[in-house]
């Protein structure tokens, strides 16, 4: 008996640490991942700042939750869309972001890139194609 699988999109538009949105989104993604839905994450606007590598929060006394993004692959979260225009207006490139991968068990657990760099038009299509959008 198969239940209907819906396409869930988690839309992230906020920078980390200044507000709680980024952390809350990650929590909800991890909870939702337990329900075997088709999950995608989108990072646009200040949301792209969530994925920067080298985050070190010791001096501000907050939890550094950025290592958790690297665990998303283990939760079958393999589609992470990052918008090119959002990176560009912030002077960022993919090199500034963490390298996120998932392991393909059908190909001897080969590591595959989770992050897909997409244009704004392509991101619009990703939103359009999803059944449910959770905004953070």
């Amino acid at each position: 008996m198969s239940e209907t699988v819906k396409q869930f999109l988690y839309l992230n538009r906020r920078a980390p640490y200044g507000t709680i949105y980024a952390w809350e989104s990650l929590e909800v993604v991890l909870i939702g991942a337990a329900f075997d839905q088709d999950v995608s994450l989108a990072f646009v606007d200040d949301g792209v700042y969530q994925l920067t590598k080298g985050q070190s929060t010791a001096a501000i006394g907050m939890k550094n939750f950025s290592p958790t993004y690297a665990a998303l692959g283990d939760y079958e979260v393999k589609k992470i869309y990052v918008e090119k225009e959002s990176l560009e207006e912030r002077g960022l490139t993919l090199d500034d972001l963490q390298h996120l991968v998932w392991e393909d068990e059908d190909e001897d657990y080969a590591e595959k890139d989770s992050i897909k760099l997409v244009s704004r038009a392509e991101m619009a299509a990703v939103m359009e194609e999803s059944d449910v959008v959770f905004s953070f």
Binding site: G18, D45, Y49, T52, A59, I60, M62, N64, G91
Partner: protein, 102 residues
């Protein structure tokens, strides 16, 4: 004595930085902290606006907030000084008042 202006919001999300720079007088001090630190980085859409402001306003950025967000001092626009929390306290003490732009 001059004023210490603080901006703690991302320039991409709020107009706090823009508003601050519209009002900050010559000789004022500006500290970028929390999500405001993104305005201190090179290569953003706001770099020109910030660089132009450096002619009349002394700009500081809070190092711990930069590190938390994954950016080293090398990514900071030339002319902006990186300070720690003790430096923040010094700035607050040296200026006649603190004006926060939320």
């Amino acid at each position: 004595m001059s004023t210490l202006h603080t901006v703690n919001k991302s320039p991409f999300e709020k107009n706090s930085l823009d508003a601050c720079l519209n009002y900050a007088g010559s000789g004022a001090n500006l500290l970028l902290l929390e999500d405001g630190v993104y305005a201190a980085l090179k290569g953003t859409r706001f770099e020109q606006r910030v660089t132009a402001a450096l002619d009349s306003v002394k700009v500081y950025v809070l190092g711990p907030d930069l590190q938390a967000r994954g950016f080293s001092e090398e990514r900071v626009i030339e002319g902006i000084s990186v300070v720690d929390y003790a430096g923040f306290v010094d700035l607050a003490a040296e200026n006649a008042k603190v004006q926060a732009w939320l």
